[in-house]
Symmetry: C2
Subunit: 112 residues, 2 copies
DNA sequence: GCTATATACCTTGAACTACGAGGTATATTA
DNA sequence: TAATATACCTCGTAGTTCAAGGTATATAGC
């Protein structure tokens, strides 16, 4: 049936999201700016990336949400569940492995 | 018109390829195994990834190739051109930036 | 001699992610 | 009153990676 594993480097947007939400509850629009900020402008993910991930993480029980009316508008604040914390750990390990592998490859001296 | 930039983390397979070819000329089948090896098994890219990249890099002048018959079979050895070295530098910088951004995000203490 | 595995090249269709443009609505600033 | 910022969202598509195939020769095991 040709089912495919996720691409080896995916999961980074999800990782960043979960990491930020581990530190404090946040809402989508804010996460967009926070990701730019905490990565030193290196990574910029639009709302078209953020919102779908938030929704799917909530659907699978990694996040819980809470609506807060703030000055006429409504914000949807997300925070981690137990499952979300586990998922964060897993993604963090995955990332370290990938990152380490690439670093090794790049650091190997030309005359090896 | 909706023309899209490449995903922010793409270019890693290309980076690994160019990095290996900077060290020595290699052929496709060998690169597949080399990438697994130099990344400590963290990254495994199949031939379906490697060959198309080699072809497109050759087409755009980043690689040059040379066919060598070896014991009945033919190997296509690739090596970097000037343009390929420039491309490697650029991808290496891109990667360092991304990698640094993510590291910063992950290292920020929970009570920040 | 036969079969399976390894080498070596390649392409293709589907799966998946990320991008960008859009749409709604309220609040604030000019 | 008009433009910008906040805040939510979806959708089409572009670009990448994946897995599975196909061809062909060489080698190793039985």
């Amino acid at each position: 049936m040709a089912q495919s594993n996720p691409p080896f480097m995916s999961g980074v947007p999800e990782l960043l999201l979960l990491r930020l939400l581990q530190q404090q509850e946040m809402y989508g629009y804010d996460l967009v700016r926070a990701i730019r900020r905490v990565t030193g402008e290196a990574i910029s993910l639009g709302e078209g990336v953020i919102y779908p991930i938030l929704h799917s993480l909530e659907r699978n029980g990694s996040l819980k949400s809470k609506r807060k009316p703030v000055g006429g508008r409504t914000r949807v604040y997300y925070s981690l569940t137990r499952k979300g914390r586990d998922r964060l750990d897993q993604l963090q390990n995955d990332w370290r492995r990938i990152q380490g592998g690439i670093t090794t490859a790049l650091e190997t001296p030309s005359n090896a």
